[in-house]
Assembly symmetry: C2
Homo-oligomer: 244 residues x 2
């Protein structure tokens, strides 16, 4: 499939690429004025862009079309991820984008091994990884990676604010079977919550339940903290009919 | 949970640990004669072992019990994996063990980027990784990683020989929805087939279909070759009721 470009601006039938995407199109693909390129808009739609101008660091287009991308799932899934050690969050973002997640929100919790450090810089890097993965996976939209939440209280507040159709809390001590909770067309806005290496403290699990999250189990085997969010995402996408 | 030991020998109520496991139990855990230790047998059952002798490199036990491990899924899933580049097979084995795979069989195919090299040494390493992952995941049995098959013809022969209840061929060009093909208690011995970075040549896809494999799609997004087997495994385990 052709390289995908995500337009950073798209207003009134005109769009532009900047930064690395503009460089790639101008210098690697050697695009010229008049060439047409498939563009993904910030609205998640696919457009045909006709190059109107090439200036250093910027390519401008006239756009037409605007059709929904088949690659974007109907279910909009936010992954809340207990902040893991080392580079594991990068892998979770990379693979989570492929599996169709809409948004990533890391959070710190009592038993996290990782501690906040240079989070602004790391967040920029996570978002670059998400953008690159979105291109490679053929996504119609670049999923955002939000700055980390400081604790479970902030996570509960986010759940209350976002009013998801269903929030699924994957607890290492087990819970309900996912099969009874997700079906095609049943929930559009879904939150998945998985823990860091240390798992959840009992009072954190209680707080999530009190915030309306449904406690779910992922079976009797112990999943690593980088495996659980992707297994949860694949399982939910399958049951929602979005992985077929 | 306590460290898990996989007995290398278990006959007539007597068992032994050797190698790194014996070292760990004797020198890290400082076990003494008379101590009891949970042991996983080569038969997949869990036993209670009472230490009867400690000699350098070997710990001997009298065993009792022998109960099925709750962590072992009822579905026995063999993952046939198109041989990926770099260290990706290690990650697939590691996470596949957590997700409950019974066996791993890498295979080469026409569009593989990887080529066979030092496969005996690599196979020993993959099996060490599987054993370590089995302990950490709390598995009752160590999944085996078989030596790689040379081509799709050998893979088709393996499918014919093994007579799986169902063989699912995850094809990058799409296929049937998995949801209609797997349900709890429906299939016990299941084969999953996913490709390498290069995917499958059309004649390879046709050969797999002719060998009785059912062609399945994993949705409109492009999954990396290290994501696809784990997504397929999580999806099948979910639908089989084994991830709850």
């Amino acid at each position: 499939m052709p390289h995908r470009y995500f337009a950073s601006e798209l207003v009134d039938g005109r769009a532009a690429l900047t930064g690395a995407d503009a460089h790639h199109l101008a210098h690697v693909m050697r695009a010229a004025v008049g060439d047409t390129v498939p563009l993904c808009g910030p609205d998640g739609l696919e457009y045909t862009g006709t190059v109107t101008a090439l200036v250093p660091g910027r390519v401008e287009f006239a756009v037409s079309g605007g059709t929904p991308t088949r690659a974007e799932p109907g279910a909009e899934i936010t992954l809340y991820i207990g902040y893991p050690k080392q580079g594991k969050l990068e892998d979770i973002v990379r693979h989570g984008v492929e599996l169709g997640a809409a948004r990533f929100v890391p959070f710190f919790s009592r038993w996290c091994v990782a501690a906040p450090k240079n989070e602004d810089k790391k967040n920029a890097r996570y978002n670059r990884i998400a953008a690159e993965a979105a291109k490679q996976a053929g996504r119609g939209r670049v999923p955002a990676v939000l700055p980390p939440l400081p604790d479970i209280t902030a996570l509960c507040a986010a759940l209350a604010r976002e009013r998801y159709d269903i929030a699924l809390f994957f607890y290492e001590n087990g819970g309900a079977a996912l099969r009874g909770l997700v079906a095609p067309g049943q929930s559009r806005r879904i939150a998945l919550i998985t823990g860091s290496e240390g798992g959840f403290a009992p009072e954190e699990a209680a707080a999530l339940r009190a915030a309306g999250a449904v406690t779910v189990g992922l079976g009797p085997r112990i999943l690593r903290c980088e495996t659980a969010p992707l297994a949860a995402l694949a399982a939910v996408m399958t049951l929602a009919g979005e992985l077929e």
